[in-house]
């Protein structure tokens, strides 16, 4: 038992302070901001105090919840849950700190901080949950918080639309998850991860059912982690504030899917078909994300597509199914969280100043914002996998697992993704900071952001530089023996991929020879490809035509029944219930 009751407080503290925050905000804006930051900081410290327990093998605390149904509230403290709680709360703290400068003084900040606290608290609760049902409750809380935060500026129709889209698209996956876990419960009578794992190992669950449930649960993870084919919500989610994007992409929302697959892989991992599905979903998303990121003009969308791609690599690693690749996926999760949070916060710093997200309007920013420049640079080099930054080690861990496992097709495709990763990362960097200064840059006074924004940037920059030193500690925390030594050939291949992606970005967007616009004019096919990529391969219009429009039409058809007069509606209800009663009696 932890002396600080950290198992409970680490998630109950942020959740309960959601209720306290409106009271604190009566004291003024600063009190509210520091209250939120301090609460998350305490949660992060509590998560740190759980590390010794997790290193000692972990524990699980259970208290009676709904005894009638034999349900227990289970708090699980093991390597995976503590590791994610650390990532969520440490990054959450930096992002809340950054929010002080970024959000400034505007209406609705109490709502903002309430939702942020609820978001971080639910995510921590999600990873600490010891059974499917408890996890599902937090899963839904995370979903609703994210859609509210995306639609934070609710007077902008695009933001409301994006929030709704995120909610509806993830709902498709969530329904799958819900059906999957109900099926499991009906068959086995338990929601607990431990019990299900033991049952699956003994062969107590029929393999057909196990595969069906596995696919349904995977559908939930696909929705949350914005994987193919449910990735469409993530790019639109950029309508929210940059801090929210950073939180969604780095600390909370999207990691939930990867966490879920990592958590259930001992249960469903015995099925080869399931693993193959996970791997293919991952590699397809990785390729889609990386190619789309190479064409977009919106600086936040570059990072958004990059998230889809990096999460795809994590799914791919989870689909390999060996302990080493399982560790690689989690290590890449941490690495992605660090450099993506840094990227979003650095981009946010520029957007905060310029008020635009278009990279063409940002071009030629130069070094007028030194800390932001450095932070963006660190994020880009870590993302594209330049040694010795963390992205290099974590990505190579995945690639080397693919190579040692003999998955040469995936190995080649992952290298292809690497090429595109370094291309789009450096493209964004050169486009924003170099080139001819745009009119916007020339017309506005450029200055560095305030300290509350630059300090998190500096801390995260240090993190992406030195976090790889912790690889051994992380693997011990996760209970995986030291990963196998990566062969030098893998390093060589990944460095080659890095260079192959970097050189075109350098020529096109730094040296400007050949000039990109000339190239587009001369070769029609390039601009055709570019348009397809900017359109996101046409997934949005496809879903719009096949799902959204029919549902809207059906809705407006049903709307005519709704008279809006209470008396009439009551007559309708009365007649309906009488008919139902008569039918039941007749049977």
């Amino acid at each position: 038992m932890n002396p600080y009751y950290a198992e409970w407080l680490v998630w109950l503290l942020p959740l309960s302070s959601v209720l306290l925050l409106p009271v604190v905000s009566l004291l003024g804006g600063r009190a509210r901001e520091w209250f939120a930051a301090i609460i998350i900081f305490i949660s992060a410290v509590l998560a740190v105090t759980l590390v010794p327990t997790a290193l000692a093998g972990g524990t699980q605390i259970a208290v009676s919840w709904l005894p009638v149904y034999g349900l227990q509230l289970q708090v699980r403290v093991d390597g995976l849950s503590v590791f994610l709680a650390l990532v969520v709360n440490l990054l959450g703290f930096l992002i809340v700190l950054y929010s002080q400068g970024y959000m400034g003084r505007q209406a609705g900040l109490t709502r903002y901080y309430c939702l942020i606290l609820l978001f971080i608290g639910s995510m921590t609760g999600l990873v600490m949950a010891g059974n499917f049902l408890q996890m599902y409750i937090f899963w839904e809380l995370v979903g609703i918080c994210s859609s509210f935060l995306i639609a934070f500026w609710y007077d902008r129709p695009e933001a409301v639309r994006a929030g709704l889209k995120a909610f509806v698209v993830t709902r498709v996956g969530d329904v799958g998850l819900l059906i999957g876990l109900i099926l499991l419960y009906v068959d086995t009578g338990t929601f607990s991860f431990d019990a299900l794992e033991a049952l699956a190992r003994q062969g107590g669950i029929a393999s057909g059912l196990l595969l069906t449930c596995g696919i349904l649960v995977l559908l939930g993870a696909i929705g949350k982690s914005a994987q193919f084919p449910l990735h469409v919500w993530l790019p639109d989610a950029m309508e929210g504030p940059s801090t929210v994007s950073a939180l969604i992409h780095a600390a909370t929302m999207v990691n939930a899917g990867v966490y879920l697959v990592a958590r259930v892989s001992p249960i469903f991992g015995s099925s080869g078909v399931w693993l193959t599905c996970v791997a293919w979903v991952g590699i397809i998303s990785a390729i889609l994300g990386a190619t789309m990121a190479a064409a977009t003009l919106d600086v936040k969308r570059v990072f958004a597509y990059s998230t889809i791609s990096q999460l795809g690599l994590m799914f791919l690693a989870l689909g390999i199914g060996s302990p080493g690749s399982w560790f690689a996926s989690q290590f890449h999760l941490m690495s992605q969280a660090a450099f993506k949070a840094l990227g979003f916060l650095a981009a946010g710093s520029i957007i905060h100043l310029l008020g635009t997200r278009n990279m063409d309007e940002m071009s030629g920013l130069g070094r007028k914002m030194p800390v932001t420049f450095a932070a963006f640079f660190f994020s880009v080099v870590a993302m594209s996998g330049v040694p010795p930054f963390i992205g290099f080690w974590s990505k190579d861990l995945i690639i080397s697992e693919l190579q040692t496992g003999g998955f040469y097709l995936f190995f080649a495709l992952a290298l292809f993704v690497s090429v595109f990763t370094s291309f789009y990362a450096f493209r964004a960097f050169f486009k924003v900071f170099y080139g001819k200064p745009s009119e916007l840059i020339q017309s506005k006074p450029i200055h560095e952001s305030p300290l509350t924004m630059t300090i998190p940037l500096a801390l995260l920059s240090i993190a992406v530089t030195v976090l790889w030193l912790l690889e051994g500690q992380v693997s011990r925390l996760l209970g995986i023996s030291e990963p196998a030594v990566t062969s030098p050939w893998v390093y060589a291949a990944s460095l080659l991929a890095l260079m192959v992606g970097f050189l075109p970005a350098y020529c096109l967007f730094f040296r400007r020879s050949p000039e990109p616009s000339h190239l587009l004019q001369r070769h029609r096919w390039i601009s055709t490809i570019q348009n397809v990529l900017i359109e996101g391969y046409g997934f949005d219009p496809l879903y719009e035509r096949t799902f959204a429009t029919p549902v809207m039409k059906l809705g407006s058809a049903i709307r005519t029944i709704q008279t809006g007069i209470l008396g009439k509606n009551m007559w309708g209800i009365l007649i309906f219930l009488l008919v139902v009663a008569l039918v039941v009696l007749a049977i």
């Binding site: 809006g564 007069i565 209470l566 009439k568 009551m570 209800i573 009365l574 219930l577 009488l578 009663a581």
Partner: protein, 102 residues
């Protein structure tokens, strides 16, 4: 178990009488009163279904107490809303309150 059946039939009757009252009333206060009749019908059905040879079961009684307290708070909320409706529209006739249409 003749008592149980009597109770169930009464509960069903209360439910439909309440619903009919909600449909025909031209006063929101009466609608709320009819709604309470519906609710008590449901509570009675809950009580009747938990009735065994040894009296009501503990589980159904627990749910019943919960249901009654929720019903009371719903009623309080509905009455306070009614006051707002009256201030806003100057009428309590549900057939004339048509803002939901738009």
């Amino acid at each position: 178990m003749i008592e149980q059946q009597i109770l169930q039939v009464t509960a069903a009757a209360m439910f439909f009488i309440g619903l009919a009252g909600m449909a025909v009333s031209r006063n929101l206060i009466k609608v709320i009163m009819s709604f309470q009749v519906v609710l008590f019908g449901v509570n009675l059905a809950l009580f009747a279904s938990g009735l065994g040879p040894l009296g009501p079961s503990l589980f159904s009684t627990t749910l019943l107490v919960l249901s009654i307290s929720i019903g009371a708070s719903v009623e309080a909320l509905a009455l306070s809303l009614t006051i707002f409706v009256y201030r806003h529209y100057g009428t309590l006739n549900p057939w004339e309150i048509r803002r939901l249409r738009h």
